[in-house]
Symmetry: C2
Subunit: 334 residues, 2 copies
DNA sequence: GTGAAAGCGCTAACAA
DNA sequence: TTGTTAGCGCTTTCAC
């Protein structure tokens, strides 16, 4: 239409090579007029090479991360047909070194993209910056590195989920009685998520029911036997609600079940098998689902769609707070 | 590798044309051995034509369907670059004829696929069967036609959401007092969803708190002013919880708000603006989100991925029951 | 500065 | 029953 060859049009559209100003303008105008949209299929056909994307998440000791892994597996087949291979790298959630070691391997591998759950902020930042340097696109999920601007961040709003948890306890627990915020020594205490959740929880109580007493307690026992400590707490205080800001609510739930303390309301996180069992038996009242599988799925899809189809990216996707009860949980566990 | 031409390989792989048994087996074996996977990108490049998919949903009078429409709009751009054009057809949710008329137009249009929310079962079945005849793939969302086997069904479990609603009222409402199942005359009474929800609600009450009294009431007023009837009900009975199985919970919420009946718990459906307002002000306690936008999005994505990428389909996708509270709702409404 | 041509992996039409 | 070839829309390379 512009009276020039297809090669010249290509040069104009991609601002590459030398083109005279006159033809450049002419081609641009025509492209505008006919609303030219490049055919992404043809484009990906010609740049048809195998791509690798590195997945960096904690290892599978924890059911939460197993679910994330499953989410990735679920979509990896779909991207295989576009010649994207997802290479998993695992680190230990209680060992910063293992994260760094995995990071080094990833950099050595020079992947075409990285999806990571950087629960260690400083180490995560280091990897992120290396990727930026090598202009490898990065998608973060679960945890975001403050200040970093990756291609996309996928996650949940921890602060808000803490507020929601407090509201649920407030609505269902006995009016009298203290709320307990429980932590267990086996967890990464002070992770950003945990702190945000706790802050949200307390914020709600302060605003909506300032007269409600609460205590933050860290239980510790080398063998993860917290029964005795719970007993002490319950003799000391009259407890009407418990908030566990991690996936360890089952510890509290098991004890409540054993002690037949059916009136105490319990809110926890994550649809792990231990939690689900107690949810169904009525000893956990609410679980907040952080949807690790969907987060991971979305992360992979986002990165791959960008790489393969050149799709534009929504830089920040927050999953809604998913409140799950005994009756709302899917009957068939998939 | 098999010593035959690319054309023969193509014939074997697609079971078309005549191929000798010997070569057929040889090609199959080699394909198996090298784990041959067709390149979907190349395939879609060669069959590169514009495709139309018809979208059939109720018109935009109702906010629920406006949200569904928005979900479609959100992903239509992404499929445009694959040359898929989504053509919307609307019908009136209170007029079966309008559904039939739209159906006729769709069939005339001969689209490459149909996405529909067939709230009228018989008329929906008719369209479905015509599509089957013309081998046009169909995806249904929101409502499924009993017995029909479309490419995919996207929806929520109404029965279960009714149970969940009952549980939420049971957990939060005063122990004494009657539960009210409210319907409004402006709705399509007896829609399958509505009946399932109600059945689920009652099932829960029977099982979990058989002593709880409940009444099913249909309010009717030509001007949608239900205040007087609500007043009568509340003087007749001591009500502690209300269940509205549709998006009309705001009618009840507004009245509760006006009458300062803050102790009465209210569960409704759908994040419409009127409902959200009352949720935030505390007069609706729980909303069950049926996610019309995501349902529609998923429906379009499923059909398009099948058409364009030849992707395999999960024939039935149930969205989880999404319980929303004042604190769990996204702070910024998008 | 610009044009011509090869080729990405596949399908479809035609030839043998 | 099998082989050959054009061409889908684009990028890239080489030649002028």
């Amino acid at each position: 239409m512009a009276g020039v060859s297809i090669g010249t049009v290509d040069r104009v559209l991609h601002n590459r090579g030398r083109v005279s100003e006159a033809t450049r303008i002419r081609v641009r105008e025509i492209a505008e007029k006919i609303n030219y949209k490049p055919n992404m299929i043809a484009r990906s056909l010609v740049t048809n090479r195998d791509r690798t994307i590195a997945l960096l998440i904690p290892d599978q000791k924890d059911e939460f991360w197993r679910q994330a892994r499953d989410g990735v597996k679920g979509v990896s087949g779909k991207w295989e047909q576009f010649r994207v291979i997802i290479e998993p790298f695992f680190y230990s959630a209680d060992n910063r070194n293992s994260f760094e070691k995995a990071s080094e391997e990833i950099i050595k591998r020079k992947p075409d993209g990285v999806v990571m759950a950087p629960i260690f902020l400083e180490e995560g930042r280091k990897l992120y910056e290396q990727c930026i340097e090598l202009s490898i696109p990065v998608v973060m999920f679960d945890t975001a590195i403050p200040g970093a601007k990756p291609l996309a961040i996928i996650g949940t709003d921890s602060f808000q989920s803490g507020m929601a948890a407090a509201q649920l306890l407030h609505m269902t627990a006995r009016k009298k009685g203290r709320f307990l915020v429980l932590h267990f020594d086996e967890e990464v205490i002070n992770s950003p998520h945990m702190l945000d959740k706790e802050r949200g929880f307390i914020e709600y109580l302060k605003k909506e029911c300032p007269r409600r007493k609460y205590s933050i307690v860290v239980l510790n026992n080398p063998d993860h036997q917290y029964h005795q400590q719970l007993e002490e707490i319950f003799t000391k205080w009259k407890i009407s609600g418990i908030y566990v800001s991690t996936s360890r609510a089952y510890h509290a739930g098991n004890w409540l079940s054993k002690e037949k303390k059916n009136k105490v309301k319990l809110v926890g996180y994550d649809l792990t098998s231990a939690n689900i069992k107690l949810l169904k038996s009525g000893h956990i009242d609410f679980l907040i689902n952080q949807n690790p599988n969907k987060q991971a799925e979305e992360s992979i899809n986002t990165l791959c769609a960008h790489l393969v189809h050149g799709e534009e990216i929504v830089p920040r996707k927050l999953f809604p707070i998913e409140i799950v009860t005994r009756m709302s949980i899917a009957i068939s566990n998939d």
